[in-house]
Subunit: 331 residues, 4 copies
Amino acid sequence: MQFLSDNAAVVHPAIWQAMRDADQASAPYDGDALSQRLDAAFSETFGRECHVLWVATGTAANCLALSTMVPPHGAVICHREAHIEMDEGGAPGFYLHGAKLILAEGDAAKLNPDSVLAATANIRDDVHQVQPAALSVTQASEYGALYQPQEIAALGALARSKGWRFHMDGARFANAVAGLDCSPADAAGPVDALSFGCIKNGAMSAEAIVFFDSDLADIARYRRKRAGHLQSKGRYLAAQLLAMLQDDLWLANARAANQAAAQIAARAEDRLLFPVEANEVFCRLTQAEKAALRDQGFGFYDWGDDAARFVTAWNTHPHDAAGLARAIAAL
Amino acid sequence: MQFLSDNAAVVHPAIWQAMRDADQASAPYDGDALSQRLDAAFSETFGRECHVLWVATGTAANCLALSTMVPPHGAVICHREAHIEMDEGGAPGFYLHGAKLILAEGDAAKLNPDSVLAATANIRDDVHQVQPAALSVTQASEYGALYQPQEIAALGALARSKGWRFHMDGARFANAVAGLDCSPADAAGPVDALSFGCIKNGAMSAEAIVFFDSDLADIARYRRKRAGHLQSKGRYLAAQLLAMLQDDLWLANARAANQAAAQIAARAEDRLLFPVEANEVFCRLTQAEKAALRDQGFGFYDWGDDAARFVTAWNTHPHDAAGLARAIAAL
Amino acid sequence: MQFLSDNAAVVHPAIWQAMRDADQASAPYDGDALSQRLDAAFSETFGRECHVLWVATGTAANCLALSTMVPPHGAVICHREAHIEMDEGGAPGFYLHGAKLILAEGDAAKLNPDSVLAATANIRDDVHQVQPAALSVTQASEYGALYQPQEIAALGALARSKGWRFHMDGARFANAVAGLDCSPADAAGPVDALSFGCIKNGAMSAEAIVFFDSDLADIARYRRKRAGHLQSKGRYLAAQLLAMLQDDLWLANARAANQAAAQIAARAEDRLLFPVEANEVFCRLTQAEKAALRDQGFGFYDWGDDAARFVTAWNTHPHDAAGLARAIAAL
Amino acid sequence: MQFLSDNAAVVHPAIWQAMRDADQASAPYDGDALSQRLDAAFSETFGRECHVLWVATGTAANCLALSTMVPPHGAVICHREAHIEMDEGGAPGFYLHGAKLILAEGDAAKLNPDSVLAATANIRDDVHQVQPAALSVTQASEYGALYQPQEIAALGALARSKGWRFHMDGARFANAVAGLDCSPADAAGPVDALSFGCIKNGAMSAEAIVFFDSDLADIARYRRKRAGHLQSKGRYLAAQLLAMLQDDLWLANARAANQAAAQIAARAEDRLLFPVEANEVFCRLTQAEKAALRDQGFGFYDWGDDAARFVTAWNTHPHDAAGLARAIAAL
């Protein structure tokens, strides 16, 4: 029973079916009918005008989006533990041509206006210091915490007041919307672009960059090609994205993952490092306890010496989640 | 009947099957068993030690490979009509951090030692001019022409004598090997890295970068992640590549495409702009003639005002090729 | 008697004096009184609002200016023999983050609307090809030829109609204005930024980037620092620029250089490769003739096997120019 | 009486004289006799083989040096308050093509092996995280503290054991050597390259990059040109550097500045934030105290609300230093 990561789960049957349905000769790149339907499909989901590009990874989605917002001599404000800072192999430095990440604090990897202001308070407004140009948040956060709509709104208001662009890394945006039980629009708030994750949620190889500003999307189209991310058989990526939105498969998958995480959390309350609001459970566990769990066949990542991370996925069976929950409770 | 491009063809059934077979929980990124088998599989195909990375596009393959060979202050020598110069949206400038392309001449988009020397003859060996660091050729060329093994060997010898690295864009390498009827090793010659194309040959979304120098491969692994090309479900890409090599599917597919092109060429000999050695046919055709063909349902690209490009694919039916051949002959 | 290059000449006494006068404690970087006077001084010279930054080299001036105009995924159109293409060691690739140079033709290294259109005619308006974002000309050209005001105006009109920015490399702008005998504003025409050269004209280490668009200047200030070109004792650079403008020293120096070139040209008319309109003389000379001149003590660069380049400077003595002219005539 | 910064002081008479002596026609760029003498002059000073390039700023010196050591996908470890992190406008991001700075702790802006290991301890050796490639220290540190030779040696040993290159920002290296009263070689220890500062020490516009590895110097020559830092009249920069070394002017100037700082520190011991080992004095001072000092005509920078920074220079008169010392003591 694996709780290593949702990024290794199998592909949902509806995604397979959509890809097979796309298997016919078509215009290359994003000229096919499926790619052309993305804007409308996402616009309907978000209730506002969207301009959507598919890409193959979350790293590409985040960095392409940011590259349209930040000049090479500018900076992005993000959390000290943001994925773009910690886990993208320096991709922001590549895509943003050396622009800087300004690291801010916040519980559970969530920013707030005070922490953002603190991180930027000592930046003199002169050419000797790199000036922020965008703010980036992760919804759900790297520790599985959620921004409430009013929290996103407040950060957006701060960004607007400072003249910064606003980006959301939504690798687990589906889990966030499912957890918040709000509209996608409210979960995204006033961001200029959203990396709308699907791969951790049952897709194979497609993420959406959802732009709410057409000027940024126009830039991104050139940059996607320039980064080698414009696949010639793009219809197989578009098919995945459309299938995700179809009948809200994305939300059904996310709810299943969240519920499995909640099952585990319910039996581990005194061990939790962070509130469990999406599909990740961080538990205090000794080395001996972790060994005991592994002996029982559970797979997961160490989180330092005295904690562990469990991630549930769209296909985590309630039976397996219950098994893990019991095993933790029994330690 | 479409002859627009092989890059839009459907996916071969064996590729689909391999992807379905890969649909089980596995280590993410390239830690899965399929990705781990790539080095051995390609080493067997080439009869020498290979270090192989999957990526999703030919542009990424070319530019990642070159980025391991050329410093930002250096240059790549390529043909004036090379794909990296003409059709990659400036990706070499991005991946190579502003390194330069030095453009050389040659019939049918093929370089030769004389044309390479002519292109570099006037570069003074001082800091005011950008110094070449690598040579890149395309096999088959952008005009469907093939480098004979001795031609590649001669270019490789020149590169070695100058201290340049040597790269091959093999978006249609399969068609080249099929057309040359030689070993893959002879078709690649002494290159340091080969972009081994599969997408135009029946795959969905996987190309291989085949390094014959492990030091370059080690750099490429970091750069692939940094470019957002390290997919978390990499097993679906590895599966495509392994299926291609299995029982030489890649050569069977390429032979089919080449034969279809030969069928067309045989009826259009007096119209050919270039010898037809792989799966592309460039024909002199007036605007009226092109209109007539389109009226009969044939799809293809204009090549300027008075020519057209026809590309065959792994699934071009001999009947359709014959139909086009007859239609051209009847003009 | 050296005619190698104006870039190696000694420093004019008035420049020395201005630098000595600047030798007092002052605000660092460009906060000193002299740097603060640059905008006004150049605005008066050009009769329009200027925003001026000093830098230490022409390469930095050109590339910083262009970096404010062209996105990394864009291109600059310039002459095939432009300094930015031929002699800046790839600096445009560095400063523009991999943007491309599109090379156009034209006599005497001068562009014209037809040649610019020819160079861009085959660029499809899609993401696979790099789109031009700026046009760059050199006044006086790399072969010492001048753009008449109406020629600059025509190129500017073309740029405007295409949505391109317009840049002028004026490493020898002073020689151009002196040769055209027109106003500086007319010689610059509708460019957005001008690299106003002083070092080849008697300064030591200061060039001006003259922006006619304050938004571009604002970007350039950050980029200058980021490129390590913001000197802490900037007052010594500002002093040089102000001394150049004072009493039109720049034009007096340029006229002296131009007259010396004219002296030489007058005796070499049948040997000239290009009309001599500024301070460079390109002459057809055999290897034996060049050897003979060198035996008489004249220094100059070969221009291929059968030509030579002679450059005069602000301090070329008429007697020396006459000596060279006689020597050539006597060959 | 200004104590704002040594970077705004006037130019030493011997520097002026050397520049005037250089005012004769000569080979351009670094082909002149003075530039050609730099390697020998610095080799004598350091007692080992040096390869030396002049540049116009400390930012360019630091970033060019580092650009020869760190690939774009790598990182530099430096102090959280290092100049390259805090005050160079993002130049490392530009020159290193997006490589990362890894920030480490340490008193008085000095690193030590423990703090360096702590900063890198959590970097997994995989492609998802950016791997360090070089270590950079500042001698004297940004807070005027000195690395003892054995401290540099220990950091060098750590770097060597990890396979990292080692760089020293010596914007105030002269003050460090004067303060340590050791040989230049011991103050630099086993670094691969040293930014040898002169501008804060009485020069006008020249810093030296001293490479102790000729391979790095060879790369730097191309990168200097590419960055627009190869001045055509380089002899005026070389002259400044040679004059600095002549009769140890650099050490005499630095000693004068250090002594003035010591004078101030001696009367402010209970207010010092850091030990005063070079030419910078950081004092706790209330807003009212700072206002009082400014009323008496002393110029200096605020260091937050409750402290101030005083910097002495080569030409700080002992009388002025004594005056400030008395004024602080009298508060």
